[in-house]
């Protein structure tokens, strides 16, 4: 039997890849949008739904960023609501290990697992630096170097809490409910003790995803995670990442299948290849408005470029390399500004591109562009040749951006025998084939 593909649906987020200007773009906040995407994913027999977390609105040059989608609901609250309108779909959320505490988060995730009958998943991320901290009690307390220490110990602590209850065996006649739940954790990050308030949940441990890509992130995933939300969506690049991460598992006594590698990917479907290419370009123009083009350029140049015309040539001035980053609230994307600028100038000169055309060219082209048949074949090839174990699909439109994929691509994957026709389990762990 060929490898089975894992599929997940990412709710379109607050990056410029989410197109809000399209006439079909719906609310980013009404529950109806979340329900539509989740139910579409479940109709397509997807493994899980994925929702990111907001801790502070993004800023650029000290101002709240206003060109992309701004604002989103609380992650756990939406996932609990979705448990009411779905039956088999996994419910995954990003929850930051820096600005949550193990007792409370373990309690919330165990609650979500109970309320969904075993469908909860947690994408563990961390933040350092003061920006997000300004909304929270402790401020920006975590050193960059300690991020994975905190994340690792957080996961360990959560698992200790989840393991603190034996399966329930209440005896009404004897008047005995339970006497478990007592815990004590002493470590460098957390020194806590008492009694955990939630009985063992259907999955025991909610599924744990990890999204960091550095060596430390990969090692953490190999040691503790059930799945990796990776960025590697090119075939060769994906295979290399896959080999690297899976090779790390033996060190922890783990089987290669016990860690799933699932890159975040985008897609465009057309009636013909040419039609798909044309749609893809149209979407890219929507994603990169003139204002967004200048803004993305500023992220490399690290200075105010608002006086430049997006339809004109690149600035002749060089990027600011020593200044503090002008962008706050998202991960840094450009390590070497001068090198990136030189590369972009070369491309712009060679192809005679304006600022906007260049940005469209060099940033975030869609991962899979084609007909339903070519996209299904390509996805299958990725999985069968070990570039990944599945995909987290990131639609560009809320809430209908997954409709065509579920109606067109999923049946072809099912015909190929690489994707389920019906759910095999009621729990996410069961559907992912995790122990």
């Amino acid at each position: 039997m060929p490898k089975q593909i894992i599929l997940a649906a990412h709710f379109p987020g607050v990056n410029n890849t989410t197109v809000w200007s399209d006439p079909e773009a719906g609310s980013q906040i009404d529950f109806a949008s979340f329900k539509h995407l989740a139910r579409t994913a479940e109709r397509g027999r997807f493994d899980f739904f994925f929702l990111a977390e907001g801790l502070r609105l993004r800023e650029q040059r000290g101002l709240i960023h206003d060109l992309d989608v701004v604002g989103r609901p609380d992650t756990l609250t939406v996932l609990a609501g979705l448990a009411a309108v779905t039956t088999h779909l996994g419910l995954a959320g990003t929850l930051n290990a820096t600005f949550h505490e193990p007792y409370e988060l373990a309690r919330q995730l165990a609650t979500l697992d109970h309320l969904s009958g075993g469908r909860a998943a947690w994408n563990v991320v961390t933040s350092s630096g003061p920006f997000f901290g300004e909304n929270f009690r402790k401020g920006g307390f975590l050193d960059y170097a300690d991020r994975y220490k905190r994340a690792g110990e957080f996961i360990d602590t959560a698992r200790e809490l989840w393991d603190s209850w034996e399966p329930l065996a209440p005896d009404r006649d004897a008047g005995f409910f339970a006497d478990t739940g007592t815990f004590r954790h002493t470590g460098a990050q957390f020194d806590i003790g008492g009694r955990f308030g939630v009985p063992r949940s259907p999955q025991g441990h909610p599924v744990i995803l990890q999204a960091g890509d550095s060596d430390g992130g990969r090692e953490l995933a190999a040691a503790k995670a059930d799945a990796i939300f990776s960025r590697h969506h090119q075939l060769e690049d994906g295979r290399e990442f896959y080999r690297d991460v899976k090779a790390r598992l033996a060190r922890y006594g783990r089987d290669p299948d016990s860690l799933k590698i699932i890159p975040g990917v985008s897609f465009v479907l057309g009636d013909t290849l040419a039609d798909a290419q044309e749609k893809a370009h149209h979407i890219r123009r929507q994603q990169v408005s003139p204002q967004t083009a200048i803004l993305l350029l500023e992220q490399v140049w690290n200075t105010d470029l608002s006086a430049y015309d997006a339809e004109g040539p690149l600035p002749e001035i060089d990027p600011q390399v020593d200044a503090e980053s002008i962008i706050q609230g998202r991960a840094a994307q450009h390590a070497d500004r001068l090198a990136t600028a030189a590369e972009w100038r070369g491309i712009a000169e060679q192809k005679s591109l304006s600022i906007r055309e260049l940005i469209i060219e060099v940033t975030g082209r869609q991962s899979f562009i084609g007909t339903t048949a070519t996209v299904a074949a390509e996805l299958d090839e990725y999985v069968q040749t070990d570039a990944c174990d599945g995909f987290i699909l990131v639609p560009h439109l809320t809430p209908g951006g997954l409709d065509d994929f579920v109606d067109g691509v999923v049946p072809l994957l099912q015909e190929r025998g690489v994707f389920r026709n019906e759910y095999g389990s009621t729990t996410l762990r069961g559907n992912l084939g995790l122990a």
Partner: protein, 372 residues
């Protein structure tokens, strides 16, 4: 003209009596399932009640091995119920002591979206021994300190709810702007216990300000509720006591709490209470008055307390689902016959159901006024 009564039910476990889990028609494990809560709240909704509260504490409800000593997170239980109910208010308890005001604010705002404007929040402090140790923090020395912190937390939560003006999302394709950032506001709260910058990550919720509630028994919490809450639950022992308490909490709507054992025949109610008490080493006492009797007797009591000045009642079912069904199927018709309870579902937001005015945004610039 008599003003209509407001009626709420407080949900907790398999009922408020500590032995209720031993005689319920439900298994104890059911309280950890979503379906159980959906059925309870749909029953309360069928009875046209104003709202339900979901009991919670930061730590376990109790450590006693003989009691139902586990509990789910109340905000998430309310969220699980919201999409499958239509009219009833949903008010989870969440503590201000060991939590982040930012997370609380966004969670309740989101519950308000999930329920199309039916969300509330019962703010509570965590003063029990051992709760701070669950986070590895030192326990507060004074109860009054916890209430000072709670007042700050409510203030931050409310500011964050207002930190987006209602029309902040403009989706202006011509200028490429999704929001008008002049209509978003930093809350810049700096207090003794925390600082919060803002704005919220969640646009202003449908009600603007979801309903903030609190349970209060004594001077310090009365003061907190008067200052911070829209709705206060109090525990009078009789009508005269009710009148006195109402005077001590000016401002918010006042609901009196009662534990109820309700049957068509009074002896049956007393007998049920007695049977549960007999399962304990001594009869159970509550912070609220425990009522056992018939719907007519309870209606008489409610009306006499109403005349003493309370706006409504929050009934705590002694046993679930039994006493909830007695409230919705026996008590509600009696109140309707007496012309003091609604006969159709409350149509609007929880604020409007409770007779609270529309919430004015503290940051909004009046129409036409110059922006500073």
């Amino acid at each position: 003209m008599t003003s209509p009564l407001h009626l709420a039910v407080a949900l907790d476990g398999l009922g408020w009596h500590p032995a209720a889990w031993r005689t319920s028609t439900h298994e104890a494990a059911d309280v950890f399932r979503g379906d159980y809560w959906v059925r309870l709240v749909q029953e309360a909704e069928a009875g046209l009640l104003d709202l339900v509260t979901f009991e919670d504490t930061f730590g376990p409800p109790t450590d006693a091995p003989g009691e139902l000593n586990g509990r789910l997170d109340a905000v998430l239980v309310a969220s699980r119920v919201a999409p499958v109910t239509e009219h009833i208010g949903l008010v989870p308890v969440a503590t201000t002591t060991l939590t982040e005001p930012f997370h609380l604010s966004t969670a309740i705002a989101t519950l308000d979206y999930l329920s199309s404007g039916r969300a509330g929040w019962q703010a509570r402090v965590s003063a029990r021994p051992g709760e701070a140790a669950l986070l590895g923090r030192p326990a507060a020395s004074e109860l009054s300190e916890l209430f000072d912190e709670a007042a700050d937390a409510v203030e931050v939560v409310r500011r964050l709810w207002d930190s987006w003006e209602d029309d902040a999302i403009i989706r202006d394709v011509a200028t490429g702007r999704y929001i008008d950032r002049d209509r978003l506001h930093y809350v810049d709260f700096a207090g003794e216990f925390f600082t919060v910058k803002g704005p919220s990550i969640v646009p202003r919720p449908p009600q603007g300000q979801p309903v903030v509630a609190a349970l209060a028994h004594a001077a310090v919490p009365y003061e907190f509720a008067s200052r911070s809450a829209d709705l206060v639950f109090v525990t009078p022992s009789d009508a005269q006591d009710a009148a006195e308490i109402v005077r001590r909490v000016p401002g918010p709507k006042v609901f009196a709490d009662l534990v109820v054992f309700l049957d068509d025949h009074a002896p049956a109610a007393h007998e049920r209470r007695g049977r549960l008490d007999a399962l304990l080493t001594e009869p159970w006492q509550s912070d609220a008055l425990i009522f056992a009797g018939t719907p007519e007797q309870l209606a008489d009591l409610l009306l006499s307390w109403r005349d003493a000045g309370v706006d409504g009642f929050r009934l705590r079912p002694g046993a679930l689902p039994y006493d909830l069904e007695a409230i919705t199927r026996l008590l509600v018709p009696v109140l309707q016959d007496r012309g003091v309870f609604r006969t159709t579902p409350p149509p609007g937001s929880l604020r409007s159901t409770l007779g609270l005015p529309p919430a004015v945004n503290r940051y909004a610039t009046p129409e036409g006024a110059p922006v500073a």
